[in-house]
Amino acid sequence: MSADHDSLPAQALALAASATCPAWLADYRARAQRALQDTAFPGRKAEAWKYTSLHALTQSAALAAGATVSRASVPADDLPPLDAWRVVFVNGRYDATQSSLPAGGELIVAPLVSLPDAEQAHARALLALTDTARLPFAALNGAAFADGLLVRVPRGATAGKPLHVVFHATGDAPATAQACLLVSVEAQASLTLVEQYTGHGDNLFTNAVTAIDLARDARLVHARLDFADHRQFHVGSLHLNLQGGSRCDAWQLMTGSRLKRTDLACTLNGAGAELALKGAWLVGTDEHADTQARIDHAQPHGTSDQSWKGLVGGNGKAVFNGRIHIHPGAKQTSAELVNNNLLLSADAEVDTKPELEIYNDDVKCSHGATVGQLNETGVFYLQSRGIARPDAELMLALGFVNAMVDDVPVPGLAGWVHGRFARWFAQRSGRPGGSR
């Protein structure tokens, strides 16, 4: 156990050593490599990794090699039908053939390897938001990424269409791909972003970093989707910086996999910033999903409103930690967090923990978590209308999570996600209700 854990830093460093990157990123790369050397990869004793083992990853040989496949088309079935600009990365490398970039000045989208000089400072500023000291996998990403994407909406501009960024993991051999997405929405600008992880195949590890900065009064709608193959590994972190008066409406939607770990680090860094976050995880047989949401209220008059739902079946295991930290200066903060979970089997497991740290008394704050089972009265109600029990259970369970995406303001997305949830129920939940 300890032997394979000890091999993790060595594997990560070897991977980093073989990576190449554009010269203008050399400084950041060097810093990330130092961070990687200095930070210990977490063992089970580390509180933040208490319920998530890296054992399967270290045993998989995925970390031993960077992905070599860089051409593969993303199956149409994996993509929601959106009227959007689309950018596709295959195993961490930009694929122009599957991408359609906007030409106008209201939305700048460029791969890091061919980033115009004028944009490099923006990318560096966004990379500085990533917490490589605290998150070893973010350090690994910085030390090893081959490419990434910069997205920038200039001051006052409104992106005319949503932007859909797809990171696709595929291949036959065990391999690791780094995904890096950097987003800057400047003052009074507005963007709708769909960030999606797709993939097929065993033993592939996607290590993702997303850094987003919302300048004063900026607006962002952000949906992060991860319905990749359940046999894959995914570790991702989202670093979100909200300046004064900005607002982010975010959705985190995922199914479980052999190892899935998502760290959200959101900082309300200016007065009156607003964050509305909804999330759902569906975790089934031999699946795992660990979500760590950390919200820092650093400035006054901020609002954060989080609602998370979990559907856990088979022998699946979901972990959630929702930490809200309200700093001394963050007067008149309003922070809410709810997490409701539905267990579909006796073997399913949820470990959920809200944590509040409040350092001033001028706040409105509430949090709560529940873990329950399907409502038998609801099942009976549907049965009494002629719907068989397995179908009744399916309707109730899917209704529970479907409600989380009904209000996503991206045409075509909610219905597609509902379909994905239904597919998960049929194939992964361990329940018989998938026939409909």
Partner: protein, 251 residues
């Protein structure tokens, strides 16, 4: 239509129905009245086959067939319908999606043609109009955030679409204002015909002014302690149940 013979039923190991017998002919409307906690909702649940309601003795014949072993959905497909005393909220499942699934299953089982999308929408809208429910309710989650009266009207709306052979209405009149009460009564009356029967569980005579029953029964202590015509309801309104409880205890 329905014949209940010496029915005994337990809930969580406690006997609630203690030898209940009742015969309902085709085309008849029966009212069941009785004090709180006397077992009316339990009877409705047992008739619809709810899990956890255990029949320990007796039988329930529906059109001559013993249905005590059937699941709720099988009974529904044979034409039974229960309007719930407390309709259940199903978040995230729209009324439309729910009605469509329900109608498909029930109509298919009954050998009726399954409505295409256009016919279904038309029928659903008509049913809404009949119970004075805005069509926006079709898109909302089932009973989600509906007021008490809206939930009851939603039950009747479903009944109008499902056209059951036997409708069991559990206190559908409770908490309704007079307009809503009339909507419910019109809904039931519009379905009344020689092949269709109703069981109305109610506390109040006033519903029976609008839906005139053929028979009125008093359920107390888990069995029928008195039966009569519609005038019995008036008598109960006047005298309460006290004079009958003694009869129940003695019986």
């Amino acid at each position: 239509m329905l014949e209940i013979r010496n029915l005994h039923a337990n809930v969580q190991g406690k006997e609630i129905l203690k030898g209940l017998s009742l015969t309902i002919g085709s085309g008849e409307v029966h009212a069941i009245m009785g004090p709180n906690g006397s077992g009316k909702s339990t009877l409705a649940a047992v008739l619809s086959g709810r899990d956890g309601y255990e029949v320990t003795a007796g039988e329930i014949l529906f059109n001559g067939e013993d249905i005590t072993g059937l699941a709720p959905e099988e009974r529904a497909r044979k034409g039974m319908f229960l309007a719930f005393q407390y309709p259940v909220e199903i978040p995230g499942v729209s009324n439309l999606e729910f009605l469509k699934a329900s109608l498909e299953q029930v109509r298919k089982a009954q050998g009726k043609d399954v409505w295409d999308a256009v016919t279904f929408m038309k029928k659903a809208r008509e049913a809404c109009t009949k119970v004075n429910l805005d069509q926006a309710f079709l898109k909302r989650g089932v009973n989600e955030g509906f007021s008490g009266g809206e939930k009851k009207r939603n039950e009747i709306m479903q009944m109008l679409l499902l056209e059951p052979a036997l409708g069991i209405l559990d206190e559908t009149d409770s908490g309704l204002d007079i307009d809503a009460l009339q909507v419910v009564a019109q809904g039931v009356n519009s379905l009344r015909d020689a092949g269709r029967s109703f069981v109305l569980v109610t506390h109040y005579q006033r519903l029976l002014d609008h839906i005139v029953p053929d028979h009125v029964h008093v359920l107390a202590g888990g069995r029928i302690v008195k039966s009569g015509g519609k005038e019995l309801a008036l008598e109960l309104e006047e005298k309460g149940y006290g004079w009958l409880k003694d009869a129940a205890a003695a019986g």
